[in-house]
């Protein structure tokens, strides 16, 4: 047996985590507040849509995904006080007004014949942008000081990747004609323009690009 008193390196050779990160506490809290707001809007919309879609399989998926986004919102809600924001509601805000317009665009479809639009908004625009913002955060933050955020990001990304795939497959199964292809593409393009205007889920710099004004 190895001598337990022999000094060992504090970090094992395979542990390559590093201290530097792009975000300080304040910036992390700002982003986490934006994430929570986005996740809230997402779970509220998915929950509301359940009653409006006639397709039984879609109904069940929306109900399931609704909870996952609620849980993500809860994770961010609990993270905020750990980032020196004792009033989490204060930072539970959209990145900017353009992002509010984007969410309005996503949640606008209600009629039972608009399941394609509902799913395209979430699974071809909102969720991919959320995954982008989370992935950038995961890759850019300090691997040691911000470990709690990283842990949440990994849980959330695992959910989101699964849900993205499920949502995309539902869309593929619903689109049967060239006209429906056009409907999906047109709605996607409309929403994509709105979120580009917002700069992403956390505003300009959501995935590391510099704001256009800089």
């Amino acid at each position: 047996m190895a001598d337990p008193y022999k000094p060992r390196a504090p970090f094992a050779p395979w542990d390559r985590r590093d201290l530097p990160g792009l975000f300080d506490v304040e910036e992390t809290a700002r982003r986490v507040g934006n994430y929570k707001w986005a996740e809230m809007k997402l779970f509220e919309a998915l929950g509301g849509w359940v009653a409006t879609v006639p397709e039984l399989d879609v109904k069940m998926r929306l109900g399931t995904h609704c909870y996952k986004h609620a849980w993500h919102a809860e994770l961010w809600h609990k993270r905020l006080p750990e980032l020196r924001e004792m009033n989490p509601d204060r930072l539970t805000v959209p990145a900017n007004d353009a992002f509010v317009a984007f969410v309005e665009g996503v949640t606008e479809p209600e009629a039972p014949g608009l399941t394609i639009e509902k799913l395209v908004g979430v699974y071809r625009v909102f969720l991919p942008h959320l995954v982008g913002a989370y992935t950038f955060h995961l890759n850019a933050t300090s691997e040691i000081t911000d470990a709690p955020t990283i842990r949440s990001l990994k849980f959330i990304l695992q959910d989101d990747m699964e849900d993205w795939r499920e949502g995309e497959m539902l869309i593929q199964s619903l689109i049967e004609t060239p006209e429906e292809v056009d409907r999906a593409a047109a709605h996607q393009a409309r929403l994509e323009k709105l979120i580009v205007a917002a700069g992403g889920v956390a505003g300009p710099g959501s995935i590391g690009r510099q704001p256009a004004s800089v």
């Binding site: 359940v50 109904k59 606008e108």
Partner: protein
Amino acid sequence: MRTFLPVEDLARDDRFVRYTMRERMADKRASARIDAKERSKTSNRITPDRRDGADAARGLMHGILVGEIQALEGAGRTCHDFRVTGIAERGPLATQPIADAAPAAEVPFALKLDMARQAWDEARHVEISVKLAEWMGSDIGSVAENTVLFEAACSTDPVLRLAGVNRALEGLAIDVFTTMKEFGELAQDPYLAFCEDWMLADEVTHVKMGSDWLRSLTANDPARRERALEFQRVVDKMFSFGGTRSDSMDSPIGLARRFRELAGFTDDEVADIAEVSLQALNERKQSIRAARQSSAHSTAGIEPAGFEPAGIEPAETA
């Protein structure tokens, strides 16, 4: 998307056929099926030894399926229809009027999280129910859908929704799942008993959520609590479906007292539900007896003298 979706706008595919509570209660065929010769002499519970046991269980299973769909929709709508306390609303909800709901238009964030959790649970229950219905030999849409459940989830006051859906409706689900679990055990169908047992666990959780939120949200508002409890009584009586669920052995579905206690019902509350259910059963018996007597009068000379409605026992007391 609007807040507060009317029940008429519930989206269904072409397999589903909808009917109202009024139509259900006015359906004479349902009354005519209550016949002492067609069932056990000592009990009207849904059991495998009833001659119509398999059909009754299949019908109940379909009722569970559509009930789960509506419960999923109701929980989802509660996630959507109300603002979150403390969060400055941006976008459509900030300007959208919420009719008649001014004092109740906000809910705590944690309540919405519970409703989202319930939506996931109900989505799973729909999955389970679809598979169980298939296992028991029925097809989706083979029995008409009554949307009274979703109607209870349409209140503009979230406290009334919790009372009507989580306590009354999910309470009924506890009774129904207990009956179906027992049916599965008696029929030696471990698949059915296993699934009902899991769903029962979730329902107890949902009822407890309702009980906890009802108490917490109305802690300083006794008038609102009383309104909610009154609404629950109305829904409880409605969900008794004319005595389909009660302590009486004349009811196909029993009252699952133990699980209701686990779910946060007090002894008095359980006793209250028992009384309301029995009252509904007795009113139903009275109505059937009147209908049969009226029919007997109109066919005087055809029915033997002293005709008594078959299978209808005297009114019971708690």
